[in-house]
């Protein structure tokens, strides 16, 4: 009897070996087990909020779990390096943003966007020109006219010296030909709070962090720095329309470790493409202030090249030193 139990036990234990062997031989079915989705930023952060619904769409689409893992630290450096160093068997994907590109100006160790395979871009996060609703600046022209007459008087709240909103602020300043007083805060939230309290005049902080206050009537959106107008604010002009050649903001997209099978990348890319057409998902992202823009890997590569050029211009021509936020 004892022997029988032992044999049964051995068989039960050995079964998964055969099972997984069988799976490997039927290599056509991808993905056939858990896919890890590494987010190099915290739970509830910008990237996290948009990645989770996309991941759960992929989960339904492929019928296997897409397990979201947050690996924050070093402003995204830690998680991005983990994506680079993960196995390229198609069972690890991750997210990327402009921070991954700007990290080399910031951190002594940094990831390289050319060390991963791009899958697709899912959103852009446009920078804005936003003022308090009580501000005397009703239009961008008002703001520019005042700033030109009083150089250095307009205070612009950003998310820390060299951090994203500061970069937008300096870029805006240089493209609009004005001089402002940059006031660094610990992050987006603190900077928006200062704007709400009327302690500063304006900010270039991206839409998701100001949209709730614009909708409530506490803040006023003077212009948006995306290529096209935002679906939720069709009346707000883009900077480009107003004659300022500044398209700036962040983006977020998916990547896979270098050398991942192109067929697998294509499969994920197609599913993300479908996800981005899902009306419920689109509504969720737009309501959160993001601008859903599905771009395939080739188009995504162009976006990244542009971002690299813009950062290069900021560092070499405007002499900014970056930090990450």
């Amino acid at each position: 009897m004892k022997k029988l139990v032992l044999v049964a036990l051995v068989l039960v234990l050995a079964l998964p070996v055969f099972a997984s062997g069988a799976q490997e031989s039927a290599a056509e079915a991808y993905p056939s087990r858990n896919v890890r989705v590494i987010i190099p930023w915290t739970v509830g952060g910008m990237t996290d909020v948009l990645t989770r619904p996309v991941a759960s769409y992929l989960e339904k689409h492929f019928g296997v779990p897409f397990v979201v893992e947050n690996k924050p630290g070093g402003s995204g450096v830690v998680g991005s390096l983990e994506i680079e160093n993960s196995k390229n068997d198609g069972y690890v994907i991750g997210t990327t943003s402009m921070s991954t590109v700007s990290a080399k100006y910031v951190s002594p160790v940094y990831p390289d966007i050319h060390n991963v395979e791009l899958i697709s871009q899912v959103i852009t996060i446009p920078a804005t020109v936003t003022v308090n609703a009580d501000s005397k600046f009703k239009t961008l022209d008002d703001l520019l006219a005042y700033a030109k007459a009083n150089p250095g008087k307009v205070t612009n709240a950003n998310s820390g010296a060299g951090a994203s909103a500061h970069i937008y602020g300096v870029y805006f300043e240089s493209m609009a030909g004005i001089k402002v007083n940059h006031i660094p805060y610990a992050g987006y939230v603190e900077a928006v709070t200062a704007l709400l309290g009327g302690h500063v005049d304006m900010t270039n902080i991206p839409l998701p962090d100001v949209s709730a206050h614009i909708d409530s009537g506490d803040l006023r959106l003077l212009a948006i720095a995306s290529a096209e107008r935002h679906p939720s604010y069709p009346d707000v002009p883009t900077l480009r329309e107003l004659g300022i050649e500044a398209v700036m903001g962040n983006y977020s997209g998916f990547v896979a470790p270098k050398g991942t099978d192109p067929e697998k990348v294509r499969a994920i890319d197609e599913a993300i493409g479908l996800a981005m057409q899902d009306p419920a998902l689109r509504k969720f992202l737009i309501d959160a202030g993001y601008q859903p823009v599905y771009l395939n890997r080739t188009q995504f590569a162009e976006v990244i090249t542009d971002a690299e050029k813009q950062l290069d211009f900021l560092v070499n021509d405007l002499g900014i030193s970056f930090v990450d936020d």
Binding site: T42, G73, G160, H199, H213
Partner: protein, 500 residues
């Protein structure tokens, strides 16, 4: 924003009949208390760990659970502070000042009872304030600019001088040591990296949590091991678990004062429970009837910080719900949870999501009730935990310290920070330098520095800005009174005595 609308309260009443709300809240508090009490697992981390599990639940149920976790974890931090002198969360640092002496006198159960009742009253008052005055308080909080934050952090820093038992000079040395550690990392204003020694981990500065766990947890364990009385366990009187009416009357004033301090400071974005409990303890030291006995193990010393840190939970929810601005790290994580549920915290939430806001009030009330029950029922068992032989207890706590430090950002580097702080803490204790000022200096220093420099940038270098703003001026006067008040009083008394 409409200040008062009864729909806000009535539209969610039906949630009271939903048994799932009770279940979710109960388990939230239970898990929160356990995690909060484990050294190294902070309230923020607890919420971050559990938030992904709630994504599949309805928003009301998920928030009943999360708010339970939040209240439970903030309360739970006091248990380990009292029992083993290791604050489970930074907001319990002040609690250990009197809580641990109490447990060394065999009064751990009594201390936990006081902590439970104070936390309950603090939590309850903060829910009431949140329900009826949230928009008004939020608009006041917005009036605080960099200058006012300078004032608040200065009040916090001035408490260092007060809470150092024994030598004030040693307390100040510890405080400066903490301020120096706080300098490491990216300069908050210019972005210049300071003392990072080529390490990416140091860019964001040294995290105060592993330092706190090391200084308190690891070094306390080392002290206990090196103690000749290693094998002696303080016999715990399991009495007064439910505080008698006489004690309740004695702390009532303290608790109510501290609760209001907690709500207000909690509502200020970027302040939060750790500063609230500290300021509450500081004011008890200044105005309390038994201020001279503070630090020796009296119930006021537990009541003040515990009422304040639990009151700050409701306070921190005020800017989150009404403005979409988190009041502290914990609410920042909670806010992420709201957004993932498709709800937008912010000015429109109170108007568009009345039933949900209403359910938040109910969840908070439930969590306060469950916290009280779990605390009072559990006090007996918690107090017995220290009776556990130290040869088992100490290794177990060490493991939690290591895991907790690692878990903050999944970084081995933080474990080294923990070990180094543990050794430094051990040496400092042996030389009788107080530990609390180091951690406080680390937390408050960067806040002070960045707001101070920001004020000067906003005012274009005008130093008068600090006295030209009325609230800021008021805070500065308080700081001056705290620091020079005792000296003047002493001289004054001498003159009177001589006169007589």
């Amino acid at each position: 924003m409409e200040l008062f609308s009864f729909d806000l309260y009535l539209s969610g009443l039906h949630f009271f009949t939903n048994p799932l709300m009770y279940v979710a809240s109960f388990f939230g508090v239970l898990v929160g208390v356990v995690f909060g009490a484990l050294p190294g697992l902070t309230a923020t981390m607890t919420i971050a760990v559990f938030i992904p599990f709630t994504f599949g639940l309805a928003p009301t149920i998920s928030f009943a659970f999360l708010l339970g976790l939040y209240s439970g974890a903030v309360y739970g931090g006091s248990i380990s502070a009292i029992l083993i002198n290791i604050p489970g969360t930074p907001s319990a640092i002040a609690t250990s000042l009197d809580g641990y002496p109490m447990s060394q006198q065999g009064r751990a159960g009594e201390a936990i009872g006081i902590s439970t009742i104070s936390s309950t009253i603090g939590g309850f008052l903060s829910v009431i304030v949140l329900m009826f005055a949230a928009p008004a308080i939020a608009s006041v909080a917005l009036k605080f600019s960099a200058e006012e934050y300078v004032g608040i952090t200065l009040i916090g820093l001035s408490v260092i001088a007060i809470i150092s038992p024994g030598s004030t000079v040693k307390g100040l040395i510890s405080g400066v040591f903490g301020l120096v550690i706080g300098i490491v990392g990216i300069d908050p204003i210019t972005g210049f990296p300071r003392f990072i020694m080529g390490r990416a981990e140091l860019l964001e500065g040294i995290d105060s949590i592993p330092v706190m766990i090391g200084m308190y947890g690891l070094s306390e364990m080392l002290v206990q091991i090196s103690d000749v009385q290693y094998s002696i366990v303080v016999k715990q009187k399991i009495s007064k678990l439910i505080p008698p009416l006489k004690d309740l009357k004695r702390i009532l004033g303290t608790v109510i004062r501290s609760s209001f301090i907690g709500v207000i400071i909690g509502a200020l974005p970027a302040a939060g429970g750790s500063i609230a409990s500290l300021v509450a303890y500081g004011q008890e030291k200044r105005f309390g009837k038994r201020r001279d006995e503070l630090g020796t193990g009296i119930i006021e010393g537990v009541a003040a910080p515990e009422a304040a840190n639990n009151a700050s939970t409701g306070g921190a929810l005020i800017p989150m719900l009404t403005l979409g601005i988190p009041g502290d790290a914990m609410t920042a994580v909670l806010m992420g949870g709201l957004i993932i549920q498709g709800l937008r915290p912010g000015p429109l939430l109170f108007q568009q999501q009345m039933p949900f806001v209403s359910s938040i009030f109910i969840s908070l009330l439930l969590s306060v009730v469950f916290m009280c029950i779990i605390g009072l029922v559990g006090a007996k068992y918690f107090a017995k935990l220290i009776g556990f032989p130290k040869k088992y207890l100490i290794p177990a706590i060490l493991v939690f310290c290591l895991v907790g430090s690692y878990a903050i950002s999944n970084s081995i580097f933080d474990i080294w920070v923990l070990i180094l702080s543990g050794i430094v803490g051990f040496v400092m204790r042996k030389l009788s330098f107080p530990i609390a000022p180091i951690v406080l200096g680390m937390i408050l220093g960067p806040l002070f520095e960045s707001n101070f420099r920001r004020s000067l940038m906003l005012s274009e270098g005008n130093w008068a800005t600090f006295v030209q703003r009325p609230i800021s001026l008021g805070f500065l006067i308080v700081v001056v009174l705290v620091l020079v008040g005792p000296m003047i009083l002493k001289r004054f008394n001498k003159v009177i005595i001589r006169g007589n």
